[in-house]
């Protein structure tokens, strides 16, 4: 189980090469989700605002009940 520094370095590089694309893909997905969310809110402002008020009302009711 002993690993010399070269092996540790190789292992770290391998992990990095495997993880970096996943992080990049996750970042791209988040940016896409953000863009779609903003577009939806801008296309339906009334629905989103009324829904947010209703959601806040429910949360407030639940919080005040406890």
């Amino acid at each position: 189980m002993d690993m010399n520094p070269q092996q540790i370095q190789d292992r770290a590089r391998e992990i990095q090469e495997r993880i970096v694309p996943q992080i990049e893909e996750a970042r791209r997905n988040l940016v896409d989700l953000n863009t779609r969310t903003i577009s939806f809110i801008r296309a339906n402002p009334g629905t989103c605002l009324i829904g947010a008020v209703a959601m806040g009302f429910l949360i407030g009711k639940l919080a005040s009940r406890r």
């Binding site: 809110i41 989103c48 009324i50 947010a52 806040g56 009302f57 949360i59 407030g60 919080a63 005040s64």
Partner: protein, 133 residues
């Protein structure tokens, strides 16, 4: 003859009543349309004054968060433990940059002091060694 006159007079009264009723219905309809127009113009004016669409265009997440907050207050959640916890968390998050700066400053000062101490110790040690030798 008397019957005829009575019939005539009854018919005249009936037609006058129907006309009055129709007139009142027309007036009520007109008033309702007027009220509807006023309500619509008031809503339009309020919308233009608040400029909700423009605000949502400029800052969508902020407006949704504000609406959520309004709903939360309307739901009676203002004076609750959850609000206290949210405020505490907000204060901590707001204080985080200042604390980070302070910690970084203290760490830098400690590092400089350590380096200075090491430098003086090294010079002292070399000097002492020089004297002895």
């Amino acid at each position: 003859m008397a019957n005829y006159e009575n019939t005539q007079s009854n018919g005249s009264q009936s037609s006058t009543g129907e006309a009055g009723f129709g007139h009142r219905v027309d007036q009520i309809g007109s008033d309702a349309a007027h009220l509807w127009g006023n309500a619509r113009s008031a809503v339009t004016d309020l919308g233009q004054t608040l400029d909700l669409k423009g605000r949502v265009d400029r800052n969508p997440y902020g407006m949704v968060a504000a609406a959520l907050g309004v709903g939360y207050v309307l739901g009676g959640g203002l004076f609750t433990p959850l609000t206290a916890r949210i405020i505490k968390l907000g204060v901590r998050l707001a204080a985080l940059p200042f604390v980070k700066d302070e910690l970084v400053g203290m760490a830098e000062a400690a590092l400089q002091g350590y380096q200075a101490g090491v430098g003086q110790g090294g010079q002292g040690g070399q000097g002492g060694t020089g004297k002895i030798s």
